[in-house]
Amino acid sequence: MSKLTFARAINAGLRKSLESDPKVVLMGEDIGALGGVFRVTDGLQKDFGTHRVVDTPLAESGIIGTAVGLAYRGYRPVCEIQFDGFIYPAFDQIVSQVAKMHYRTQGRVKMPITIRVPFGGGIGSPEHHSESPEAYFTHTSGLRVISVSNPQDAYTMIQQAIASDDPVLFFEPKRRYHDKGEVDEAAELATALSMEKARVVNAGSDVTLVAYGPLVKTARDAALAAADEGTSIEVIDLRSLAPIDFPTVEASVRKTGRLVITHEAAQSGGLGAEIAASITERCFNYLEAAPVRITGFDVPYPYSKLEMHHLPDLDRILDGVDRALGRRNSLSGLEG
């Protein structure tokens, strides 16, 4: 066991993948000598060479499109998109090529491409540096979408993503990059919890609170605070956003009868809507209240002095929990 920051944990996972499979190649802007703007690839080019850790031209469609060709040739590219807001130039290659190639060729051509995306807000950066574009990709069949919440998962799940024969969008909560946690670097991939599975990170009985990525920590903090006041919150870290491990969420909701979902991304058409609808379909008779969503607002990501209003925080989440429990809350008295 060692104590590693989130960024170092991913770095260690990438190193392990580079060591164990010569077909793994990293590509992206500034990932070489600089080690990436978040230093996640620090030292890897030095140790593995410029042909395995490739500094690319500044062309996002080019990064993903050439990765498609490399995958055709039997490589397993791991692409870094420098910031969430810069993934859009590559959108076409991701949704029209990466996602569809396996289906298009009825399995003849695999796309074991991992696309790493530092995502989400909370670091006070300018426009296009704090977005949560995950729903664009969870809506696209053929992609697996993952979001990690802690260093141990980051370490194992990046390896699982790279080992997957399917393309994976790997969303890294950038405001957690410097958080430290215990990481077992000797952990066996084969016995680690599958990246497709959700995990109950805090057991509880009154309400189910679903979160992923950066908000898992906030959700746990909310559960601790609520426990002090006698409310028992079960917190679920989704880990996989596509497919979502609904059985785990269902089992929890059957127990608690109440569901709160939180994410940084805007509300409309977001994952919260998907989870609320799916859980309502699957266990309507167990629900004692309508599912509640605590999310970012339906606005472009605001300038940094306002981001704390946009991002769900502990108190907003607890207000949502009160709503789910039918207690006094900020919307009390409001019809519909």
Binding site: V25, H51, T56, P57, A59, S61, G62, I64, G65, T66, A67, V68, G69, L70, A71, Y72, R73, G74, Y75, P77, P89, D92, Q93, S96, Q97, H102, Y103, R104, T105, Q106, G107, R108, V109, K110, S141, G142, R144, S164, D165, D166, E196, A242, P243, I244, D245, F246
Partner: protein, 388 residues
């Protein structure tokens, strides 16, 4: 057909070496080895690249072009008869497609657009495999890894990046194969083609960009895409280029061999603009009379690639009854097989819609598949009931 007699020997050592120190020309005048009237003219630079092409091989190029034109006609007829959903004709582009693809080696990899049925034929795709995409029975025709040919690409220009990435993979592997990307003049406006040229130049990837300038992108003329000659554009990316008469199968063969040879020897990417003309509609759903001057078509018909090679063969006394009969018989047989394989093709099974989205099962899709199969089963036996 994957590696034929013309393809073999494409890298014989007797040919001039082009390397980064000995850069290729850029754009410039049209490379031509056969005039529109069918006269073989000499070219100081390119003759050497086709000097191994025997009379017999000229005959086989003629056969491939004729067969491909026949497939095109048969496919268009099948579409009119409702047997194909759509067909993108390549009428007029036979020399560009046959000349370029016959220069390839088996271990080279090709990323085409949707119009390269001639290339697919040369690479060894089965006729049913060519037909089934356009019948709507599958979104891929052939196994890409079997014949080193990617599936038809619909997104304009996208495949230029895939080709470049594949070429980077060849470099990593230390192999001497090359990659070809086919696209049209319209595609040169897409960002992906520019990004592909940036990547190819940056990494000196062994890729050949083969642009068939057929003068039209659906209804938009090439002048709307490019203010300069297309072959001039790659130079700004540091990529040498050639402008070749795309209706001259020998010139196309020579130019493509030059580019592939350069790629194999570590000389990096090359861009070829094959100047040709789409004589048919964009697809069977298109009506070119709405945007195209009929005189233009007439001018280009006079430069027909097949008529041109035929005239050359004739002038050399090679177009005897035996050759004509062989080619005719081959075209008849291929057309009949194309038609039969199209009409006899079984429909896909309904639940196939759910297959192969991922390489391992996905719980969401499994659930939807299960629900839909239960729905379909609910009709079981209902036809008999209805008959009562």
């Amino acid at each position: 057909m994957l590696t034929d007699e013309v393809g073999k020997g494409a890298t014989s050592a007797s040919r001039p070496v082009h390397s980064a120190e000995n850069p290729l020309r850029s754009g410039g005048s049209l490379i031509q080895l056969i005039t529109p009237k069918g006269e073989r003219i000499s070219h100081p630079e390119f003759d050497v690249w086709v000097k191994d092409v025997s009379d017999e091989q000229l005959g086989s190029l003629y056969e491939d072009m004729t067969v491909i034109r026949r497939i095109d006609a048969e496919a268009t007829a099948l579409q009119r008869q409702g047997e194909l959903a759509l067909w993108p004709p390549l009428l007029g582009q036979e020399a560009s497609q046959i000349g370029s693809s016959r220069a390839l080696r088996e271990d080279d990899f090709v990323f085409p657009s949707y119009r390269e049925s001639g290339v697919a034929y040369v690479r060894g795709a089965e006729l049913a495999e060519i037909a089934r995409v356009w019948r709507g029975n599958a979104s891929y025709g052939w196994d890409p890894q079997r014949i080193n040919l990617a599936t038809p690409q619909i997104i304009i220009g996208s495949q230029s990046l895939h080709a470049t990435g594949y070429a980077m993979g060849i470099q990593h592997d230390g192999a001497d194969s090359a990659v070809m990307a086919y696209f049209g003049d319209g595609a040169t406006s897409e960002g992906d083609v520019s990004e592909a040229m940036v990547f190819a130049a940056s990494f000196q990837a062994p890729v050949v960009f083969f642009c068939q300038n057929n003068h039209w992108a659906i209804s938009e003329p090439v002048r709307l895409q490019s203010h300069v000659q297309i072959a001039d554009r790659p130079n700004g990316f540091g990529i040498p280029s050639m402008r070749v008469d795309g209706n001259d199968v020998l010139a196309v063969l020579a130019a493509t061999r030059v580019a592939l040879d350069r790629a194999r020897k570590g000389g990096g990417p090359t861009f070829i603009e094959a100047v040709t003309y789409r004589m048919g509609p964009h697809t069977t759903a298109d009506d070119p009379t709405r945007y195209r001057d009929p005189n233009e078509l007439e001018d280009w018909a006079a430069k027909d690639p097949i008529a041109r090679l035929k005239a050359l063969l004739d002038s050399k006394g090679l177009l005897d009854e035996a050759l004509e009969a062989t080619v005719r018989a081959k075209a008849d047989a291929v057309a009949a097989e194309f038609r039969a394989s199209c009409i006899d093709m079984p429909d896909p099974a309904p639940l196939d819609v759910f297959n192969h989205v991922y390489s391992t099962p996905n719980s969401w899709i499994e659930r939807q598949k299960d629900h839909y199969s239960r729905y379909l089963e609910s009709f079981a036996g209902s036809s008999e009931e209805g008959a009562l």
